[in-house]
Amino acid sequence: MDYGFTEQQQEIVNLARAIAQKKIRPVREHYDQTEEFPWPIVEELRKVGLFGVYLPEEVDGLGGGNLELVLAAEELSKACGGIALCVATSSLCALPILLYGSPELRKKYLPDLATGKKLGAFNITEPGAGSDATATKATAVLQGDHYVVNGIKNFCSTGKDADTYVIFATTNPNRGARGISAFVVEKGTPGFTFGKKEEKMGIRANGTYELVFQNCKIPKENLIYKEGYGLFIAQLTFDYSRPGVAAQAIGIAQGALDETMSYIRQRKQFGQSISSFQAIQHMMADCATQIEAGRALLYATVRAMDASNGPAIRKAMEENKVVADCMNELDTKRWTKESGMVKVFCSDTAMRVATDCVQMCGGIGYMRDFPVEKYMRDAKITQIYEGTNQIQRNEIAMMMIKEAASKSKKDLVAA
């Protein structure tokens, strides 16, 4: 379907597709099996400039928005959701710096993330703080011109392979949720090391690690925004980034269906292609319909988000201000509900489609030497990370109740 992309957006799609199909597809099984980090692919993505498509030109990005990021993520995920994650985690690291970072912090960290010279990672999770981020135990104590961080963060994607990390620690344990702060930490900072590498079901090309902080000194300037704003920063970041997970999910679903279509058209049983059986046809029709519905919701949402967020981001660049402050000044809409909807819908679609694809392929679909089972393994994480789909539904419902309450209040005033 023609979604009316600009010339630049179409170039992003073409280029991401070329890398996905020519460079990633032939090696995805290798990285899935070995769990090595796909450095040669990262190098390709770097050279063509796919890391910074969504970042402003002022920080060496291409000047696009969330739609540009989503288009790249979808195309790369069609070939391999795990390798696509290498771009995605860099954006998850860049976004809090873009949205809440000072102009100095933006200037220091975003250009290298935009060019892909450095990879980024983002870590809010702890063993005791998953969906409940308010339970964060890692601490950051201000001592003179630096913070001293202690604690363990876990489940960090691109864990050991990134250079720039955004992490969350409490600067005031007495204040609970309002005591959590966000920091930029560079790899190699004394006291910052890596713990356990997780063995995962899917997205195995991207290593997931534990981050260990032992009296790690971080310069004071690396605090993002202000103390106690950590959860606000995380929430605004997720509002912006969840469509990226949705794009990964839609890419995985489409990739699985493409592989399945080429197989079921040539697989013969009872003397004919299995694609000629209505039982299969209905499954493939449902898969394609759900994918297109998810894609349409995804593009419509990120377009609306870009139109809404764009002016605040531009204002912040031009006036040397913090983006979130400009959003407040311009009364920019919060996208929690819509970005949650996109993430839920597309990731649930991906899981359902990938499962049906394995089913359509039958026995061979379950085998490791056939690509479809990997899509099913990779799809699962999209329902879990950046907020489980259950948490998304909570947030969607909460926003609905808030909106309904404010509407009835307005009606009351009007009456």
Partner: protein
């Protein structure tokens, strides 16, 4: 150094049908792209540019209006600007005419900014003659080397290069300016970057016709020099043979029989 890369826009297809009635290739409606061999020339030009500070790369192409796409594709990869030789009177010229026109283009570029090196792909994937680059050297009266697989070193005055030969490699020193055609082994072409793609849309591409080039009509016209007797697509490649047999002896016997059958032994 000012490097000129000559590129050709050719059908981006491996099988081009032949019109049985006219005996000519049916190129209408085919997708067009950069001649694959030219991609290696472009890549080498960009690599030399990256090595020699202050270098620029100009893309030169002879062809109809659509050939500008090939020029912009080369600019997207990292070339700086383009020159497009386009004129109705250029249509249907032969390799002599093509190389003559390209030489005029290069003289014009050379007059504006002295050219140190001209790079070409070894041949095009449509006509496959491989004669344009050497002829270009002759028209310009510059040294020309075809089938080059490596630039061992290059400075403003001298290039040390390796030319692939049937029985090995020739190591040559070439005074610059020179015309060099390259083969696939020389490098691995890069993909265009997004910024390159966006820049390529704005980059200057000069349009030069017969008047601007002061081309002599007799040298352009193919009349009398070339007659195409007929064209056929190459025969399809035959499949391989799976050697049957449970043991090494059985397999060896099969291979031996096959070789005898083919009169190799």
């Amino acid at each position: 150094m000012h490097i000129v890369v000559c590129v050709k826009q050719t059908p981006a297809a491996t099988q081009v049908p032949v019109d049985a009635a006219t005996g000519k290739l049916k190129t209408e409606g085919l997708p067009y792209g950069l001649n694959p061999w030219d991609e290696y020339a472009i890549e080498e030009a960009i690599r030399i540019k990256e090595k020699l500070a202050g270098s620029t790369v100009t893309v030169l192409s002879l062809g109809p209006a659509r050939a500008e796409e090939a020029i912009r594709a080369a600019i997207a990869l990292g070339c700086d600007e383009g020159a497009h030789l386009v004129d109705p009177s250029f249509d249907g010229t032969d390799n002599m005419g093509s190389s003559y026109l390209l030489s005029l283009g290069i003289r014009k570029l050379n007059a504006a900014k002295p050219v140190g090196l001209v790079l070409c792909g070894k041949q095009s994937n449509d006509n496959e003659s491989g004669s344009v680059a050497p002829a270009l050297g002759a028209w310009l009266d510059w040294p020309s080397v075809a089938y080059v697989r490596k630039f061992a070193s290059i400075d403003e005055k001298l290039a040390k290069i390796e030319r692939a030969a049937e029985d090995g490699t020739d190591s040559l020193e070439v005074d610059l300016p020179a015309v060099v055609s390259v083969i696939k082994e020389i490098n691995e072409p890069r993909l265009p970057s997004l910024k390159g793609k966006m820049n390529s849309k704005k980059a200057p591409v000069a349009k030069w016709g017969a008047a601007e080039l002061q081309a002599e009509a007799a040298k352009v016209s193919a009349g009398g020099r070339l007659e195409i007797v007929g064209q056929t697509p190459p025969p399809p490649r035959g499949g391989g043979i799976v050697v049957p047999g449970a043991t090494a002896q059985e397999k060896a016997a099969f291979v031996a029989n096959k070789l005898k059958e083919l009169k190799f032994i």
